[in-house]
Structure formats: C-alpha cells, structure tokens
Symmetry: C2
Subunit: 138 residues, 2 copies
C-alpha cells in the first residue's frame, strides 16, 4: 500500500509541511501512523481524511470544531448522531453562504456596470445630480 511522506502529502493537499504539522499538533490527524523513528507515514485514506478536513475548513469551520468531529470519529458509533447533526448544520451554513455570496455578486455586478458606464463617459460626474461628495454608495 502506497504511503506519503509529509512533504508528499503537503504537495498532494496544496498545504505546507508546517500546516500539516500544525494540524497534527491540534489533534486533527490522530490516525496518521509513524515509523519506529517517529516519521509520519500518510496512507491514501489519511489523504482522503485530510481532504474532508479541508472541506470542513472551507465551510468556515474553525479547527477546534473540526477536532471535535475527529474525536467523534475515534469514538465510533455512539457519536453517529452528533456527526450527522454536524454535517446537517454545515449544509445549512453553506446554503446561507451561497445566498450571501449571491447578494454580494449582485452588488459587484452593479459596480462593474457602473464603472463600465463611467469609463465610457470618461468621468464619474454623469452620476452627479447636485450633491457633492463620494460616489462610493452609488
């Protein structure tokens, strides 16, 4: 079975070795085994687990909370409900983030149009009525 050194794992996951060791120190990778001399040996499934960790991170989950999940995984079946609840909550959070991002996108697109028009006109003054001051809010 193929294994990865920490630098190979880092490359595979687009992380630095510092980050991986930091995650280990934070208890995110209790499953990674060591050689007799202490060198970490990443299995294929460890890489997969770290991808799940990255997925959770990308939902905005802090490392401390991810550690809870990892602990629950070690505890086995008695924590199935917690883990299910956690992923359902993550789902809701990601849905909310998508909504938020959609609204953000609308504002950004409005601004793109705004500046396109101003650029064509050569000036922002086309938006001026009588007020003086910044146009940031327009």
């Amino acid at each position: 079975m193929k294994t990865y050194s920490i630098s190979e794992a880092a490359k595979e996951l687009n992380l630095t070795v510092y980050t991986l060791r930091y995650y280990d120190k934070e208890g995110l990778m209790p499953f990674v085994e060591r050689t007799p001399s202490g060198t970490r040996l990443f299995k294929e499934s460890d890489i997969g687990a770290l991808k799940i960790i990255q997925c959770l991170k990308s939902t905005g989950m802090p490392i401390k909370d991810i550690k809870h999940f990892i602990d629950w995984c070690s505890d086995g079946d008695p924590t199935l409900q917690q883990r299910y609840d956690m992923f359902m909550e993550r789902k809701a959070s990601v849905e909310a983030q998508m909504e938020e991002l959609k609204k953000t996108m609308e504002v950004i697109e409005h601004k793109c149009r705004y500046y396109k028009t101003a650029l064509d006109a050569g000036t922002e003054d086309i938006y001026k009525s009588d007020k003086v001051g910044s146009f940031i809010a327009d």
Copy 2:
C-alpha cells in the same frame, strides 16, 4: 439631512463601534465628517459607502486592499480604470468562490447521506469491507 452617531451607524451596519473606529483608523472612511468637537457624523451616503465596504469584505478582500479602493475614489476620474478592473477581479473571485462552495456542498451532502444511512443501520460498520481504521474519507 439625517445623520447617525457612531453607535447608531454601528447598529445600522451590524458592526460594533470598535470596528467602525478601527476602519476609520485604517483609512476606510475619510469621507465621514466630524462635529467641531470631533464627534463623527455619519451621513446616509456614508452608511451606503460602508455597505459597499462590507460587500468587498465579504468577497474576502483584505482591509488594506479596500483602502486602496477608497483612495482611488478620493482621487477621482483618473482611477476609474483601476476601480473597474478591481470590481471585475472581485467578480471573478466571487464566481470562483461559488464554484468552490458548490463542490464543498456536494461533499457535505454526501456525508449527510452517509451518516443518515449509518444512523438508520445503527452502526458505521456497514461501510466496512475488510479494512480497519477510520471512515473519515468515506
């Protein structure tokens, strides 16, 4: 014309007064005027500008970069191109984030199904073939 005190502005924007003063210190609100005694007076348009700042923040833009944008706004028409480019770049970034979030969502939904099934079965062992170890990657 209605104005807001810093605490009113904070309430309106769902920020703390600390955060607003911090933004001011970082040069994000050069447009906010003061009373003769130094108290900040937020105009309606200032609230609007801060909403744009919040929008940029929600795209993941760091405060230093937002400050550049604010500076460009003060510089007027000569920076129209930069500002247009910036918003186009933000647009691309938000699009990428949406894509990323979609992929994240797929993994999360897979996990929801996984744990629903395990929960119904009462154990995670249904996913075991012959390997021993964590199921995190499954």
